[in-house]
């Protein structure tokens, strides 16, 4: 009787461990095969490597590869993600604030347009966007294709609807009295927003950061179109696909490139796990 009970209690724990191992199996495959020679991989991709030291050699190969340009690609990915996130958070929170506080038909109409635009998939704008960005460059001289400016602008455009929507929902619940007190004390509207409201928005800023951050960091199609291949500005996903395309089936090196692409995200996740999961849940429920 007693063993049956403990068995029953242990079953979920065992099931969880088995599933956990299954879920992480692909990561195991990446790590062990990044430390192998091509010959070892063809022999058996499941075993531990003969010499872990090989991983360093592979890492150096990827680090110095012209197809990956790891340090530059990493830096470009950081610049694009951080700049887009900062601008998205600042611009959409201030926009959402005036949209909530101005109760007119026009204000409502603008908000509804942003919300409706959330249904627009990237696919319907991607081809015209290329032509149109080229057109803007000939007209104004501002380079948008194959440049940081263009891709950051594109991420703001594509991220703005959902971000405004999220901020809008949150700001609605902030009592107006708070702002009225500040106005009486002589705060100008912009000051009221940045001194009083902006700090209150912290939890929703977190959500917007997480949702957009994961999307922008991992995105492949938009950088592929806007930055193109073989460009000075390259993101990590572009670099990996570039390498995999050039070194077809050289799995020791492809998997090393993948490992190096994964490490920054995994480290970031381990530090900000609670923050990330909370942000993802909050963002989906709204």
């Amino acid at each position: 009787m007693k063993t049956r009970r403990t068995g029953r209690l242990l079953a979920p724990e065992i099931l969880a461990i088995v599933l956990f191992i299954l879920f992480l199996f692909p990561f195991f495959i990446v790590v062990v095969n990044s430390a192998k020679t091509p010959f070892e991989i063809t022999q058996n991709p499941l075993t531990l490597p003969a010499q872990w030291g090989k991983i360093l050699q592979n890492v150096v190969t990827i680090w110095t590869s012209v197809n990956v340009q790891y340090s530059t690609s990493f830096l470009s990915s950081v610049i694009i993600t951080v700049a887009s996130l900062v601008l998205l958070n600042v611009l959409s929170s201030q926009a959402a604030w005036v949209l909530v506080r101005t109760k007119t038909r026009l204000s409502m109409g603008i908000f509804v347009t942003f919300v409706a635009a959330m249904v627009i998939p990237f696919q319907i704008v991607m081809f015209p966007l290329l032509t149109w960005f080229r057109e803007i460059t000939t007209l104004t001289g501002v380079r948008l294709l194959r440049s940081f400016t263009g891709i950051i602008l594109a991420y703001i455009g594509f991220g703005i609807s959902q971000s405004i929507f999220l901020f809008h929902g949150f700001i609605k619940s902030i009592p107006l009295e708070l702002e009225e007190a500040a106005t009486i004390d002589g705060c100008r509207p912009a000051q009221t927003f940045y001194r009083i409201i902006f700090p209150i928005l912290r939890p929703i800023h977190a959500t917007v950061l997480v949702l957009n951050g994961i999307w922008i960091w991992n995105d492949y199609l938009l950088p592929l179109l806007i930055l193109g291949k073989g460009n000075r500005v390259m993101t990590i996903p572009l670099a990996v696909s570039n390498f995999a395309g050039a070194y077809v089936k050289q799995w020791d090196l492809i998997l090393t490139a993948i490992l190096m692409a994964m490490i920054p995200i995994v480290i970031f996740f381990l530090f900000a796990q609670k923050f990330i999961i909370k942000g993802m849940v909050a963002g989906s429920i709204k």
């Binding site: 979920p12 969880a16 599933l19 956990f20 879920f23 692909p26 990561f27 495959i29 990446v30 095969n33 499941l46 611009l91 926009a95 604030w97 005036v98 101005t102 007119t104 026009l106 204000s107 603008i110 942003f114 635009a117 249904v119 998939p121 990237f122 696919q123 319907i124 704008v125 991607m126 081809f127 015209p128 032509t131 149109w132 602008l153 594109a154 703001i156 455009g157 594509f158 703005i160 609807s161 912009a190 927003f193 994961i214 960091w217 991992n218 995105d219 492949y220 199609l221 996903p237 990996v240 799995w251 998997l255 993948i258 692409a261 994964m262 996740f269 999961i277 849940v281 989906s284 429920i285």
Partner: protein, 304 residues
């Protein structure tokens, strides 16, 4: 002194987002809608030789077996993916909301694939299907798994299942945390009361957990539907659209989902107008799905 209806701050704070929205979404959207009725290409641009050709691009879609195939494939993939992801992630959520010793570790483990981009994951799984799975087969006495023809990615039907498998692995953790959040709002007394009344675990699931998480289901079903319908990255890196197959008497890409079909039509076949018309159809389907979602939500709100 009359207060202005829209004070300066209104326009000041809105100007940057309106500009970005106009430049990146609104103008390309309408340009795109217009282009889908023209002979638009890399050479025929605005002001040059761009000609209005009516519904010709859309008629072309109907005659293109590769689009029809991609459409059907995408619907099948989307429905399978939606079912698999939701079943798996609900199961995982039930599991990790129990009092397990390492439940936070499990949650993190199940969630982590979601943080890595689909492009990278696709390559990893291509390696697993083509190299690791045959080795596993040899180890457990199924040497035939290693035959080139038996590889999962060698046939379009099994390769589609491979796409679903990877999609499930990628999204299950994300959908799981949504279910976890919903399950954790269920009052503990309710479950205890049911336990005292002798309700079986299955009965508790049916009578308490499922009804109490209905709101979450609307969200997750919609999220998984839309995300699966737009799948591109994993498609590119896992199968690249291959292997080839025959459909309506023509050779086509056996696992080319709609997003890839649109991309290839526009940029690989250099038929921008044709690709654009396909994108318009793609958009209309998403609009229909969203309208259904909104109306279902509205109906539910009235019920509550």
């Amino acid at each position: 002194m009359r207060k202005a209806k829209h004070p300066a701050i209104f326009w000041l704070f809105l100007a940057p987002v309106l500009l970005a929205f106009l430049v990146v979404i609104v103008i390309p959207f309408f340009l795109g809608a217009y282009y889908s009725f023209t002979n638009w290409s890399a050479t025929a641009r605005l002001g040059d030789s761009l000609k209005w050709i009516g519904l010709k691009n859309f008629a072309g879609i109907l005659k293109d077996p590769s689009f029809t195939y991609s459409f059907i494939l995408t619907v099948v993939y989307t429905v399978l993916n939606m079912i698999f992801i939701n079943v798996v992630s609900f199961g995982l959520a039930m599991l990790v909301t129990r009092k397990l010793a390492g439940r936070n570790v499990y949650r993190a483990g199940f969630f982590i694939p979601n943080l890595i981009g689909g492009l990278i994951l696709g390559y990893v799984w291509q390696f697993i299907f083509n190299n690791a799975v045959p080795s596993i087969g040899t180890m457990i006495g199924f040497a035939s798994w290693a035959d080139a023809g038996n590889l999962l990615l060698a046939k379009s039907t099994t390769a589609t299942l491979a796409l679903v498998l990877v999609g499930t692995w990628q999204y299950a953790g994300y959908i799981m945390v949504i279910y976890v959040a919903a399950i954790e709002t269920i009052p503990q007394e309710l479950i205890e009361a049911a336990q005292i009344d002798g309700a079986s675990p299955f009965r508790r699931l049916r009578a308490i957990t499922l009804p109490m998480t209905r709101q979450a289901f609307t969200i997750t079903v919609f999220l998984t539907l839309v995300n699966s319908f737009k799948q591109f990255d994993v498609n590119v890196s896992l199968t690249g659209g291959g292997p080839s197959a025959m459909f309506m008497g023509q050779p086509i890409y056996g696992t080319q989902l709609l997003a890839m079909n649109i991309y290839n039509q526009g940029l690989k076949s250099n038929d921008m107008a044709g690709g654009q018309a396909r994108a318009v159809v793609f958009f209309l389907v998403l609009v229909i799905v969203s309208v259904i979602q909104v109306s279902v939500n509205k109906k539910r709100e009235i019920e509550l």
